[in-house]
Symmetry: C2
Subunit: 275 residues, 2 copies
């Protein structure tokens, strides 16, 4: 998917919601446990209920990988299910990979060829040759960690050479490797005011913003500081949508929660004059 197609989808759905499929098997509604693949059954129902309001899905791979082969099967089936039923939706492998060049090549093959993801999250520590193998695929994206939403972000991401903090160095340096058409950045919503600084360096890039909802970030703040003329935001919510209800009604309630967020997003897109 390219930049224009993503923006068109945002305008059509009046939403920039990314629904996080952090489908922890221990937290699924009880009645699903009778199925052969409870996680896949859960994901299917969540996807059908939220696809109208979501422009992206983001499975965090840890929730699948931690279950071994069975988890990988659920992940593959989930990606295929989205592709077949909602081909317009952008799919993110939240994998936070990054290794030396020939090894990152293999990860790129895993996510972009074996599985049909649109994008993968990558950790910047190992630099250019750990990132560039992912960029050799047309219309596939790298989403590079810049400023994360967790407490540990303070340990290294604000480390500063003169006036430049590490996350700013990551933004400037990585723009030498790819344009806004293949690169996004992870910026936590819990640090919404930082979006203003980030927009000075990366005015056009899409930002993937986790941390709204369960982690405490505010959508209004994120839009205020981070939205650009092409929206430029994918705001993720996981637990606040997928685990809003644990009864047989879980999918219906997830759809309602996604719609609530979409309605707020619609208002923000209108305020900005995008729709």
């Amino acid at each position: 998917m390219n930049y224009t197609q993503l923006f068109e989808q945002i305008k059509a759905k009046k939403s920039f919601l990314c629904t996080g499929l952090d489908s922890d098997i221990l937290k699924l509604p009880e009645h699903l446990q009778k199925f052969d693949s409870p996680v896949f059954e859960f994901n299917k129902a969540i996807i059908d209920a939220t696809a109208e309001f979501s422009v992206a899905y983001k499975p965090n791979l840890a929730f699948y990988e931690s279950r071994g082969i069975k988890g990988w099967e659920d992940l593959e089936k989930t990606v295929n299910y989205i592709r077949e039923n909602y081909p317009e939706i952008f799919i993110i492998a939240d994998a936070k990979r990054g290794d030396i060049g020939n090894t990152s090549n293999l990860y790129a093959r895993a996510f972009f060829e074996n599985m049909n993801f649109d994008s993968v999250t990558v950790a910047p520590y190992m630099g250019e040759d750990s990132v560039s193998p992912f960029l050799s695929y047309k219309d596939k994206w790298v989403i590079l960690l810049a400023l994360t939403s967790n407490k540990g972000a303070d340990d290294f991401q604000y480390f500063a050479e003169g006036e430049t903090r590490l996350f700013e160095k990551v933004l400037t340096k990585s723009q030498e490797w790819a344009s806004k058409d293949q690169m996004m950045y992870v910026v936590g919503a819990t640090r919404a005011e930082m979006l203003e600084d980030i927009r000075k360096i990366s005015p056009e890039h899409f930002l993937l913003v986790p941390g709204v909802g369960a982690q405490g970030g505010s959508l209004q703040e994120v839009a205020k500081y981070g939205m650009n003329d092409s929206c430029g935001l994918l705001v993720n919510s996981s637990r606040g949508i997928i685990f809003a209800d644990k009864t047989e009604n879980f999918a219906k309630v997830a759809g309602e929660k996604a719609k609530e967020i979409k309605d707020e997003m619609e208002g923000l897109l209108k305020e900005k004059g995008i729709i």
Copy 2:
């Protein structure tokens, strides 16, 4: 495995060799392709031929993950094979993971519970809560990326706040999280002279040193600058051992290559007065 057990193994085998099981299916000897699991057959033969000279094995997960479910099966079988036949050997999941706390928890479960690895490589960018979940397992280790062997290491790892470079900040900060009994660092052999600086900050920690052999690093230099009284080094070689020969003799030649390295290591351990 604890620090003392690892050191005892080094003395017993007169070696600090880590053999990297980067078993790229496209590079296997032709005759193995007839097997149901060519990668596992290859690994078994390599392990049997090199275990006498190796104190650690390090599968890089990309080579397995890139093959989907089949690759995960090969990885699990390989770890089990080492555990059952060579229980003294330290096993490293070269995964370079790192995510927010509750997610790193799941990765820890994957590598330390579902699969019986001794250690996992972790990227430091997201800070303490991305690392600490791996430390809650007794006698299991985090091997944190400090200074890597690839070209991209220059992009961020030398970024400096005053006199302190980022990799040095990673070393000092992470020593607040775990002692030498649960933490090692990745330091590339292509930067052997940097080991001197690293030993000033981390005199006792084990260092996992990739980049000897195919990547050009020198074992003599690594030992000169990096060896401490408990050896303190695991030096990895992958391609130089496992793909030294592509005929039906591949395992025998791999064993010979591992023995050559072990012989050189034995000399270095003697020079240092460790054995």
